[in-house]
């Protein structure tokens, strides 16, 4: 085993920290593209969870692994559409700072 001596909890700690770093980034980064990167961090941390659970606790099936695969695929789709919209925003606003994108409020 390549994971000997590493308890499951370590993985969970790493993934949870990564999850919240991603959230922090989403809340503070002004650039829309960096916000998108923060999302990727969040999704990636979830993937670590799934894989770690699958490997440590429920290795009799591959559910966690497949979940991760699907999440990667969805992330790709999401990123493609998001980037298309960001480029469109850039054309319209001449900027991709999230603060400037607030025409509609209240």
């Amino acid at each position: 085993m390549m994971t000997e001596g590493i308890p499951l909890e370590y993985f969970l700690i790493v993934s949870t920290l990564m999850f919240f770093i991603g959230i922090f980034g989403f809340l503070t980064r002004k650039n829309l593209i960096t916000m998108l990167m923060s999302i990727e961090l969040i999704l990636n941390s979830v993937n670590i969870n799934f894989v770690a659970f699958n490997s440590y606790l429920y290795p009799h099936q591959m559910q966690g692994q497949f979940y991760s695969l699907i999440i990667i695929a969805v992330a790709a789709a999401e990123a493609a559409v998001a980037i298309a919209i960001i480029i469109n925003i850039y054309r319209n606003f001449r900027s991709i700072e999230t603060d400037k994108v607030d025409e509609m409020k209240y």
Binding site: F11, I21, L27, Q65, A75, A84
Partner: protein, 173 residues
């Protein structure tokens, strides 16, 4: 022992570069740091012997998405440009919310007693993965595989609709 060193190294890379991704003021560097995080994650998958997943992670995530992101950065920003900082109040509030959240979640996660299911392991070899991918029985993934293709097709069309240049006719309006 090696395992542990390997794991801590990867974890350190993941966490440090995650923090850097969301704090650096140069957008392009952030993308590169993100790439490091994703590669390190793939390393963890290798360590857990999920080779197929690790390969997908490297090709799709690191190879695909990050490249897409870098292209879009090049389209929309100057390389020398530095992103403005968030206001101190906003950063403080966000930090508060995230730290509180992280502590809460970690406390909850760590107090749970995870019990492994004692059943025979299915090795995540490429053969097994491939077999499961086309299986339509229980624990088979033919349906998600098909469904995700619809999503990808729709996303592709959607991205094109949004991003494609307007025709001249439209511009005259």
């Amino acid at each position: 022992m090696n395992n542990q060193v390997m794991f801590f190294l990867l974890s350190a890379i993941i966490l440090i570069f995650s923090v850097l991704t969301v704090t650096t003021r140069r957008v392009l560097r952030a993308a590169v740091y993100l790439l490091f995080v994703l590669v390190a994650t793939a390393g963890i998958y290798f360590q857990l012997q999920y080779n197929f997943l690790a390969a997908v992670q490297l090709t799709v995530y690191a190879g695909g998405i990050v490249v897409l992101i870098i292209f879009s950065i090049l389209l929309t920003s100057h390389i020398s440009e530095r992103a403005p900082r968030a206001s101190a109040a906003k950063a403080a509030l966000s930090a508060l919310a995230t730290v509180a959240g992280a502590i809460l979640v970690l406390l909850t996660v760590l107090q749970f007693n995870f019990t492994p299911a004692r059943l025979e392991k299915v090795e995540p070899t490429v053969t097994n993965v491939g077999r499961a991918l086309v299986s339509y029985k229980e624990y088979g993934y033919a349906l998600p595989f098909e469904a995700i293709s619809i999503l990808l097709l729709a996303a592709m069309i959607g991205a094109i609709v949004v991003a494609k240049k307007e025709s001249n006719q439209e511009k005259q309006k």
